[in-house]
């Protein structure tokens, strides 16, 4: 067994530098790597390019990095619900590249799986296709999309073991698995870190080979963005 554990978030984020490209897991505020984000704020690294489906809210998630103006560019599919984001974007301080959500997921997966480029119909005939190669397959037009390149991927899982194996919970899974191994260094934080052998090898969502560093996170807030409920009958 190859032990992938590091002792804390400080060790997990070693090597992150100004100007780097980071992948950050999560959908909305669900399944975001809370500890790693807090540490990036603490480190004060700047000029970051962040590949993440969303950009958090004003005071949580990637919003915390935006507050400190640490992000130079966001690559996302949807960036609503964040006033500071809007201010920086409209003032030109923040560069934003919007891409279709499925393309975002597949460009991560391509990086993970060593596929340099693939064709997708998403975005054909729209401004997303500008400057991209177009080609028809069976009469249906597609565009060529390329694998992302990133320096670090920060993901959050539910359980993990010393070998770096990960299990996710519910829809907190989202982009986290596809970002594992899609960057030079993948850092996984988990709610519960167990010894190797405790997880059923059949039920592992991401094998440890895709994870370079793993640690148990602390004090998960897991904020709910839209609390919707129904009344009991």
């Amino acid at each position: 067994m190859i032990n992938r554990t590091v002792k804390d978030v400080a060790q997990a984020t070693e090597g992150v530098q100004d100007g780097m490209t980071l992948m950050v897991g999560g959908f909305g505020l669900s399944g975001i790597p809370e500890n790693s984000i807090a540490q990036l704020v603490k480190l004060g690294v700047t000029d970051l390019t962040c590949i993440s489906n969303n950009a958090g809210v004003d005071d949580f998630g990637l919003g915390l990095l935006l507050q400190k103006k640490q992000i130079k560019k966001m690559i996302s599919s949807y960036v609503g619900e964040n006033d500071e984001f809007e201010r920086q974007m409209l003032s030109g301080e923040l560069e934003v590249e919007l891409i279709p959500q499925g393309t975002l997921a597949e460009r991560c997966r391509a990086a993970q799986a060593g596929i340099p480029a693939f064709y997708t119909p998403a975005g054909y005939g729209t401004e997303v296709a500008e400057g991209k190669e177009e080609r028809s397959f069976d009469g249906k037009p597609h565009i060529l999309e390329k694998a992302f390149k990133a320096d670090f991927a920060f993901v959050k899982a539910w359980k993990g073991d010393e070998a770096g194996n990960l299990i996710f919970k519910g829809t907190a899974r989202n982009f986290n698995p596809v970002m594992c191994g899609a960057a030079t260094i993948t850092v996984a934080e988990v709610e519960e870190l167990v010894p190797a052998g405790e997880l059923d090898p059949n039920q592992i969502h991401i094998p440890g080979i895709f994870v370079k560093r793993i640690f148990q996170g602390e004090r998960y807030e897991k904020r709910i963005e839209q609390r919707t409920t129904r009344k009991r009958a």
Partner: protein, 217 residues
């Protein structure tokens, strides 16, 4: 004129037994409330769940179980969770039978614009571009005209496109229309709305053939 709830109710009749359905935010979300008993469907949400159920009871919300609108949800027996690449594999691979989404504009050739208004804050397309480029059966739920009274069913979209030649049907507060090679084919009128009313509110080519029935609910 239909209310938003009535638009959703009318669209629910397009949902067939055995359909896997992706519902967009807004009116489409309401469709789930009107699917009749005996019609078995499963709702997919592109953030990674199939077999979505109703909202949770108060106190039972789980931050790890949400839909693409970031709302807390529940799951039904037979549900599954999966990652975003798998989720869009379902969508791109045409395993989802029906997609229902909102729009700012629809053109008579099936183009749709629903993600960007130049000069305004752009929030992003989310999964909409993947959905419209992939799905074979896409119904748009929308108001027939904008707040200023201008038609949203156009010869050509004026806003940046989300997808081209992709919409199959439009259900508005005034009518049900099918996109054909020749333009918007009027299928049904909302109760109390005349063909003339619909003509006046439709900028794109409107095809009216024979008697146009009133919707029944």
């Amino acid at each position: 004129m239909l209310t938003k709830e009535q638009i959703a109710q009318r669209i629910s009749k397009e949902v067939k037994d055995g359909y896997y359905v992706n519902l967009g935010i807004g009116i489409p979300t309401l469709v789930a409330n009107y699917v009749p008993e005996g019609i078995d469907v499963e709702f997919q949400s592109e953030n990674g769940v199939l077999g979505m159920g109703p909202f949770p009871f108060e106190g039972e919300e789980d931050p790890d179980i949400i839909n693409a609108g970031k709302q807390t949800i529940t799951t039904l027996p037979g549900a599954s969770f999966f990652d975003s690449a798998t989720s869009f594999g379902m969508i791109r691979g045409q395993h989802v039978d029906l997609t229902i989404l909102g729009a700012m504009e629809v053109a008579e050739n099936g183009d749709i614009a629903n993600w960007k208004i130049p000069g305004k804050m752009v929030k992003g397309m989310g999964g909409a571009m993947d959905l419209v480029a992939s799905a074979e059966n896409i119904i748009v739920a929308m108001m027939h005209t904008n707040r200023a009274g201008a038609s949203k069913l156009l010869k050509q979209c004026t806003l940046p496109l989300t997808g081209v030649n992709c919409i199959t049907k439009v259900v508005t507060n005034m009518a049900v229309l099918e996109i054909t090679d020749r333009g918007f084919k009027l299928l049904e009128r909302a109760p109390g709305v005349s063909v003339e009313d619909i003509k006046a509110a439709t900028e794109g080519t409107l095809i009216v053939e024979g008697e146009i029935p009133e919707m029944n609910f």
